[in-house]
Amino acid sequence: MIRVLKKGLYTSIQDLGRVGYRNFGVPISGVMDHDSAILANSILANMENDAVMEITLQGPQLQFLTATKIAITGADLSPTLNGEPITANNSLDIKRNDILDFGKRINGARAYLAIAGGFQTDLALNSRSYCQDITTKKTLDHGDDVSFLSSFAANSKLYRKSIIAPSVINKLELKVHKGPEYDLLNVEQKDRLETQAFTIGLNNRMAYQLEEPLGNQLRSILSSAVLPGTVQLTPSGKMIILMRDCQTTGGYPRIFQLSESAINVLSQKIQDEVISFTWV
C-alpha cells in the first residue's frame, strides 16, 4: 500500500485506457504519454497495461507501507527518496515506510511512477484509469491509500535496469496526418499550418488549446467521432488538440490527426511552450 501524504497538483492512476466503450460516449482515458508509461512498466517487467501513477508538474508526497520496487519515467520533477535524489528510468528498491517526494520541475509535464505488479485500484469498465463520471475519483487526495501487489517485489530476478533516454521530452515538432476536414481549409490556412509556430494555451487531460488563431470560415459538421490527437478548428478560429480524456464525438472541423508519438510529445508540454506541425 502507498499512502498519499500530499496529493500534488494533479495525480491520478492510469493504465492504457478504457477500450471498447466509446460507442456509449465513454472517453478512452489512460496515460497521456504512452511511451514513458510503457517504459516505466517495462523496467519492472510489468505488463504494458499495468496501472501507473501519472504525476503532473508538481508531484505528490508518498509513503510506502510495504516494501516493493518502483520505476519513474517521463518528466523530471526532481524525485527524492527519503530526501536523497534518485535516478529516473531505473528500477529502485523501496523499503517499508520510505518516503517518495518530488521537487522542482526540470523538464516535461508528466512523470510516471510504476510499481512492481501495477497499482490495483478498482476496475471500472475494464480499466483502472481515473476519469470524471466513470470512476469515483478523478485525482488522488491527501490520505488516500493506493494498493499494489506486494508479493511481486520478491520476484527480483525479473527486473532489469534501463537507461533509455526519454526521447519525447524535448521535441518541439508534432507529426500529423491530414484530418477528415483538412481539405476544406484555404491555401493561406494550410500554408500557415506548415510554416507557423503555435503557442500552447490552457491545457489538461482533455485538450490543449493553441493561442494563435488560424481563422475559421468553415461550418460546423454533424457530430462525428473525435479521437485523442484530433486537432479541431473552433468557431473562434483557434485550434484545440484533443487528448486522452476527450469527449467521443464533436462538431468542429477536424483538420489534423496527431501521430500516436506526437500525442506523447504534446503530453510533456506546458503552457507557453511553442510547437509546430510537420507531416508524418
Binding site: R22, D133, L222, S223, A225, T248, G250, S259
Partner: protein, 243 residues
C-alpha cells in the same frame, strides 16, 4: 437504398466512413446494419467501432492491417450487409417532471415561442424521438425529431452546473444531461432515470435506432421514482412500436 459512401483515413489508426451530411432515418438504418455486420465479422485488427449521425469510425491496429486492406474488407461488408429494415421499434418511455422547480427555462421558452407552458409540455411529450447516436458525454443521446415549434437557441451565458437528468433544448435538438455538467441548453424538466450505469455490461439502456418518448410525471412521482431507482427496484417501461 444506396448511399454514396466515402472512406477516409483518420490518422493511421482509424478509418472514417461517411454518409451524406444530414440527419436521416435511411442513413441511420444503413449505419446500424453496417455497424452490426462489422461487429459480427470483425478481424482482430479492428479494436473499436464508433457510430455517429452520418459516420462510422473504425479503429484498427496498423501493425496488423493496412488502410487499403481494411477499406476493401469494409466495402465488402457494406455490399453484403443485410438489407433488412433494421431501425429498432423499441420505444423507451422516459419519465420527465416538467415542474418549474426543474424546468428553469420553461417561461423563457414560452415567452420566446408564444406557447403556453402546458402546450410546450404536450408538444415535447407527444413526439417520438429517434436515437441517432450516443456520444459527447457517457450516455448522452443524440435525438432527432424535435417539433419545430420548440426550436430555441442556446442560452447566451451557459450555466455552470446543470443537474444530472436535466431535459433541455439546444437549437433543433432535445436531450438529457446524463451527468451534472456545465451547459448552455434551455432546461425544461428532469428525469430521475440514469442514462449511464457503469455496473452494467452495456452501460446505456438504449442504443442507436431505438425510440424515446417523454412521459410527464408530477414532482411527487419524480421523487418516488428517484427512491425506487436508488433501491435498484425500478425498470424503465418500454413498448414495441407498430409500423
Amino acid at each position: 437504398m444506396n448511399h454514396p459512401l466515402t472512406y477516409k483515413p483518420f490518422g493511421d489508426i482509424a478509418i472514417l466512413i461517411e454518409w451524406p451530411s444530414k440527419i436521416d432515418e435511411d442513413i441511420l438504418n444503413d449505419i446500424i446494419l453496417l455497424y452490426g455486420s462489422i461487429l459480427t465479422n470483425k478481424p482482430n485488427s479492428v479494436t473499436e467501432v464508433i457510430q455517429s449521425i452520418n459516420s462510422i469510425t473504425i479503429l484498427y491496429d496498423a501493425q496488423s492491417i493496412t488502410f487499403e486492406a481494411l477499406k476493401s474488407w469494409l466495402e465488402k461488408q457494406h455490399k453484403n450487409k443485410s438489407s433488412a429494415r433494421n431501425t429498432s421499434r423499441t420505444l423507451w418511455k422516459v419519465p420527465v417532471c416538467y415542474d418549474q422547480i426543474f424546468g428553469l427555462d420553461l417561461q423563457e421558452l414560452s415567452d420566446q415561442r408564444g406557447l403556453q407552458i402546458d402546450e410546450i409540455i404536450n408538444i415535447h411529450s407527444e413526439s417520438i424521438y429517434k436515437i441517432y447516436s450516443i456520444g459527447f458525454l457517457p450516455g448522452f443521446l443524440y435525438l432527432g425529431g424535435l417539433d419545430q415549434r420548440l426550436h430555441i437557441g442556446r442560452k447566451s451565458t451557459p450555466r455552470l452546473e446543470i443537474l444530472k437528468g436535466a431535459v433541455g433544448i439546444g437549437g433543433e435538438q432535445t436531450g438529457i444531461y446524463p451527468t451534472a455538467s456545465p451547459g448552455g441548453w434551455q432546461i425544461i424538466g428532469n428525469t430521475p432515470i440514469s442514462l449511464f450505469d457503469i455496473s452494467k455490461e452495456s452501460p446505456c439502456f438504449a442504443k442507436p435506432g431505438d425510440n424515446i418518448q417523454f412521459v410527464p410525471v408530477s414532482l411527487s412521482e419524480h421523487k418516488g421514482l428517484a427512491e425506487l431507482i436508488a433501491l435498484d427496484s425500478y425498470k424503465l417501461e418500454k413498448e414495441v412500436l407498430n409500423d
